[in-house]
């Protein structure tokens, strides 16, 4: 007999991991309009940073600081060399970022080899809450997801940088004329998105490991989250999209097989996009 606490907690866990995974894409694709197919590869780099850091004898918590920085730097290289030339050609970003994804994936194989690597879990025993055994790390991830979501939202909604960033993305010519450093705003926004992907990689590594394809699964799911939630809707879109794609699949899989649950959820996503192409929370 499955208890209610299990269903609630697993739904929450599945939603929160997708929030963490999709947040970087919600910025780069949702806000900036760059169809970032390298999002998965950036998550993978984050996972490998976690591996390198823990393998060097440091704590996984150190990886939470190092991974976003390293991956933001990868983002910097991407943005400065190629992406900044393509802001007015969004469809071309698709090819360019896929190219980056392939290069990154192969570089990882050259540096770390092809086999999967293990990243240890900082917690051992689960805690019992209302009769359900809950893994502590997943509880931490839920808190992390909530924290990241709020911090990112506040940053883009209320800070000086956030306002400039949104202004540049909406109309870079006008923003430039008003004295905003368009180049630097684009660059920093892209780096923040990439850094969040890196953090996601480090965050998922203790529960899925690190291998050259770790991020690929999250790439597809993240795009679904952003599109279903509504592009440009950082808070509500990411939350709603993650809930629909991750959370409902987890909840459904308690009453059906996992295969069936995933099929139903993706069918549901298609229905949402058909009826509301701008996403659950998108639009005017």
């Amino acid at each position: 007999m499955i208890d209610f606490a299990s269903i609630i907690s697993q739904t929450l866990f599945a939603t929160s991991i997708l929030i963490v995974a999709a947040l970087g894409l919600a910025i780069i694709f949702g806000m900036m309009g760059v169809i970032n197919l390298a999002h998965g590869a950036l998550i993978t780099v984050g996972a490998y940073v976690a591996y390198a850091v823990t393998n060097a004898g440091l704590s996984i918590w150190a990886a939470f600081l190092v991974a976003p920085v390293v991956v933001a730097l990868v983002g910097l290289v991407m943005e400065r060399t190629v992406i900044n030339r393509l802001y007015d050609r969004p469809v071309d970003t698709l090819l360019a970022t896929w190219g980056f994804a392939l290069v990154i994936q192969e570089l990882i194989k050259v540096i770390f080899g092809t086999s999967a690597q293990s990243v240890p879990n900082p917690y051992s025993a689960p805690v019992e809450i209302m009769g359900a055994n809950l893994p502590q790390y997943r509880i931490f991830l839920t808190a992390l997801a909530a924290g990241l979501l709020v911090v990112t939202y506040v940053t883009f909604k209320y800070t000086d940088f956030g306002v400039k960033s949104r202004a540049v993305i909406q109309n870079d010519e006008m923003a430039g004329l008003l004295g905003t450093d368009v180049r630097s705003i684009y660059m920093w926004t892209f780096m923040i998105g990439a850094g969040l992907a890196g953090l996601a990689g480090a965050a998922v590594a203790p529960i899925v490991g690190a291998d050259p394809r770790t991020g690929l699964g999250y790439l597809v799911q993240s795009f679904f989250v952003v599109i279903v939630g509504g592009t440009g809707q950082l808070l509500a879109g990411t939350l709603g999209g993650s809930g629909l794609i991750g959370g409902s699949a987890a909840a459904l899989s308690f009453v059906s097989s996992q295969t069936f649950a995933q099929t139903v959820v993706f069918a549901l996503a298609i229905v949402v996009i058909r009826l509301k192409p701008e996403g659950l929370f998108g639009g005017t």
């Binding site: 299990s6 092809t114 293990s118 879990n121 689960p126 893994p135 899925v208 490991g209 699964g217």
Partner: protein, 398 residues
Amino acid sequence: MTALTGCLGGGGGGSSGPVRVGVLSPLSGAWTVYGEAHRRGFELAMQEVNDNGGINGRDVEVIVEDTQTDPSTVTEKAQKVIRQDNVDVVAGTFSSASRNAAAPVVTQEDKVLLYPTFYEGQDQENFPGTCNDLLFMFGIVPSQQAAPWMDYMTSEHGSNFYMVGSDYVWPRFTNQRVKQSLEELGGNVVGEEYIPLGTSDFGSVLSRISNSDADIVFGTLTGTDTIAFAKQFYSRGLNEEFTYWTVDDEEFATQGKGPQAARGTYVSFDYFQTIDTDLNNQFVDKVKSQYGEDAGMDTVGAAMYNAGHMFANAANEVGSVNTDDIISGLEGQSFTGPQGEVTMREQDHQMVLPSYLVQVPDDWSDTNDFEGMFEIVDQKESVTPATANCDFPLGKGN
């Protein structure tokens, strides 16, 4: 006549010049890690064959092709090595799907395929292509891998099984056979689930396992899924409550799980790098000196190594590399491989192999330590596989 066609064919394939072997390995894509061991095992065998005078005095040339973990690429590459490179024999392919993609090609071109992977066993009814004179199976099947240990596992740990597998053919067929032996032993299947490949979140499955009265969780998850599952199994504390036995997690998968999540897990196969015999130690040393200290071996690599040697021995015995001669040479061929004595059964081309039950010890801590990764619990020197579910004689391309 043979020599003439060989010349017309562009230099290879005849009775002069090198013997050519086409190796189809997944060197990119999801199964890359197995592909590396795969290729190493075969190349190593061929080097040893060449050092000992080659095949009928001719050197062996290995042509490696990357199948990109994609069955349609397998078809293309199989055609390429046979038609363009004029190979005498084809070795490799990894998954059942990729083997099934190569089978029609070798049948059409009348070439032998040496298949190295642990798999579900030949079956005329469900996979007509697998009952084929041209296919030789060097990997272990469920009747050798799981059945011999059912007695031990049920008496040591209990007879309620919870089966978790990836959603494709190998897990389903393996579980079917395990269920048969479980029934004979009076055990029960208290849960059976198949998870789509590429799943990274196992929350609901783990909740169901946690609430079940299973004694043993029997795993046939593969790829990165088996790693994610083990890590989440551990973080839920389920390793304290249940015995976990997997028939997938060879050296590379266990490396990916890491000591924390892998400790205490049972695994069974025909080969483990930890097997402490002179032959295996030599084999492992050669792999390391050739491919680097961190290069590992697993059941698939060892099977490719055996396949290479047994093909060469067969061709030397019959004095030819013609397809029909290789078939008759390989049938009944015995060899002492890194895992011990092995024999290619004549009737269905299925290897008679040893079987090992191992467990990940508590003191394993370095993920690159492949020797310390497993501790042998028990071993059986020679396990005869269940007779393939085929019509006999096999015939080419049934």
